[in-house]
């Protein structure tokens, strides 16, 4: 049986890979914009699963909304969105220094964030979800398919196959 943690961990691994491709492409701007686009879609999709499905379920079940752990995670997602924007701006301006700086910042933020989610947040969500876990994973998969409908990248091509 797939747990929520296992399922979401796959998302973190995919984001790591796509991040590396986007960062390595710096300087080769058409390629960088493409790779950044795929990375960005995947990261935002992962964040959507958490913010639209997992966190609300956790907040309902545990009553921990205001000032709770999911609120901190949401704030860090906001920081990641801002850094994604900075990377996109820098790619459009062909500014390698700024692109790599934003990328490095995003990676550090993303990794310490993932570690907190993997070691604490997901186990807490799982405990709170109880028997609803499978239902929540199905809702997350629906988000994946939703983006797959509009996305033509190889990852989502494979996901629908």
């Amino acid at each position: 049986m797939t747990t929520i943690g296992d399922f979401m961990l796959g998302g973190h691994a995919a984001c790591d890979d796509l991040f590396a491709q986007a960062e390595n492409a710096a300087g080769d701007w058409p390629r960088a914009e493409g790779a950044l686009g795929v990375f960005r879609d995947t990261l935002l999709e992962h964040i959507a699963m958490e913010e639209e499905v997992l966190f609300p379920a956790f907040e309902d079940e545990s009553g921990a909304a205001q000032g709770g752990p999911s609120e901190t995670m949401r704030a860090e997602h906001q920081q990641m969105r801002a850094l994604l924007e900075q990377m996109a701006d820098a790619a459009r301006a062909h500014d390698e220094r700024r692109y790599l700086g934003a990328a490095d910042t995003l990676l550090m933020l993303m990794q310490q964030h993932n570690m907190k989610e993997e070691s604490m947040m997901y186990p807490m969500i799982e405990a709170a979800a109880g028997t609803r876990a499978d239902e929540l994973i199905a809702q997350c998969r629906a988000i994946e398919l939703r983006s797959a409908g509009t996305c033509t990248c190889s990852r989502h091509g494979a996901a629908t196959a």
Partner: protein, 431 residues
């Protein structure tokens, strides 16, 4: 969820880690000063007073100082629970470690017994409070993952190191006849292969795959490394105590092989990194890992007792300045800009023109300091062979590197302070 209150924000106030990080290079400067002043004579053996002073300035004031600051910062993320009352803990550990390190160095240099007692009290307080704070945070979080276990083992090794060091102090000051043979060998081995080595390995196992996007460490190494190292140290200790040299040599060889394996695996993983760019951090890692291998092999050789007194010093130079300081030095170039960025973001959000982590310090300044550091390590090793010729040159190189390190860290913090001040004056209500 009951009373399990988790605060995932967790970051301690920025002054908590920074005070440790900004103090550490000062002790490297001081250690270089001792070498410059005493010159080649101190390379005769590791028991020369100036050699002991310089070693402890580095091991305590520089390495343990950085590690204490890093623990305050990373335990909350690794273990999922903030260290309780971080300001108070830092307010005790930092001055006690600073003063204790200085007094111990002064005690060695002056041969003053009262200073040994004062140093022992201060260092005992510093490490007892640090260990208690870290272990308390991890127990409260009920963190049971591999990193939590590895940190517990490193804390245990630190405890043993401190007790053995106190034993050496007692013997020195009161002439106490302690029933422990070869204290002077056991103390540095537990310090370097236990406390420093286990902590670095625990952190490496998390940060190398995370920040360099390498494959994960093999699970056999992750699960067994800490226990195997502590086991090796225990067997070696008992064998020394029971005067069974064969078992002792085997244990020392096994310990060395464990670290060689860890370093080789790390180098191999880094060759398979998915981030293509080679930044300064990777250079420090490579240097540190290559020198860790050299240090481990030198230790295994020295432990058999075949090396002359002067040659044993090579273990300390390679392990302390070569391996540990390289890694610590490089790591701070990642940690300090990130916490500066993180705190500024918390103050201001993503306002335009906000520096990213690479805006705090140019890559070229970091590379220049890396080159200085590498040169200093080479010259220090050369000074072991040709002390009269190379000792003072090595000391000057090491001092230059440490000064550049300090200046670089100060430059990062200055950018942070300017921004934070500008933000505070723009939003007076935020204070």
């Amino acid at each position: 969820m009951g009373p399990r209150q988790l605060d995932l924000a967790q970051a301690p106030p920025i002054s908590v880690p920074l005070r440790f990080f900004l103090t550490a290079p000062l002790f490297a400067i001081a250690a270089a000063g001792v070498v410059a002043f005493h010159g080649g004579a101190m390379f005769a053996s590791r028991f020369m007073p100036a050699t002991l002073a310089a070693t402890h300035l580095l091991a305590l004031g520089c390495l343990s100082m950085t590690m204490a600051g890093a623990l305050m910062q990373i335990v909350p993320v690794l273990a999922g629970a903030p260290i309780a009352r971080p300001r108070m803990i830092a307010g005790i550990v930092h001055p006690a470690l600073t003063l204790g390190s200085l007094m111990l160095a002064a005690a060695f240099l002056a041969g003053a017994e009262r200073l040994f007692v004062a140093a022992a009290v201060l260092l005992g307080v510093a490490f007892a409070v640090l260990i208690a704070a870290v272990v308390h945070a991890m127990l409260r979080a009920r963190a049971k993952d591999r990193t939590a276990r590895a940190l517990h083992l490193a804390m245990a090794a630190l405890g043993v190191t401190v007790v053995l060091g106190a034993g050496l102090g007692l013997r020195r000051v009161f002439g106490a006849a302690l029933p422990i043979a070869s204290l002077a060998d056991l103390h540095p081995a537990w310090a370097l292969f236990g406390w420093v080595g286990l902590l670095i390995a625990a952190v490496a196992e998390r940060v190398v795959p995370m920040f360099q996007l390498t494959p994960a460490y093999p699970s056999w190494l992750v699960r067994r490394f800490g226990f195997a190292v502590l086991g090796g140290l225990l067997v070696w200790t008992v064998a020394r105590q029971a005067a069974v040299p064969l078992i002792g040599d085997i244990a020392a060889g096994a310990l060395a092989m464990l670290y060689v394996a860890f370093a080789l695996v790390t180098l191999r993983l880094q060759r398979r990194r998915r981030r293509r760019r080679i930044d300064v951090n990777v250079l420090f890692w490579r240097l540190g890992m290559v020198l860790a291998i050299a240090a481990a092999l030198a230790f295994a050789t020295a432990a058999t007792g075949v090396l002359p007194a002067r040659a044993v010093l090579v273990v300390g130079v390679l392990a302390i300045v070569g391996a540990a300081l390289s890694l610590v030095n490089g790591m701070l170039y990642r940690i300090v800009p990130f916490i500066a960025w993180f705190h500024l973001y918390t103050l201001a959000g993503a306002s335009p023109g906000m520096p990213n982590v690479k805006d705090y310090l140019t890559e070229s300044r970091q590379r220049a300091q890396f080159a200085l550091h590498a040169a200093a390590v080479v010259l220090l090793v050369a000074a072991l062979v040709l002390p009269d010729v190379a000792a003072r040159i090595a000391a000057l190189a090491f001092m230059t590197s440490a000064l550049a390190w300090q200046a670089n860290l100060v430059a990062i913090v200055r950018v942070y302070r300017q921004r934070a001040r500008a933000l505070a004056s723009a939003q007076p209500a935020q204070g």
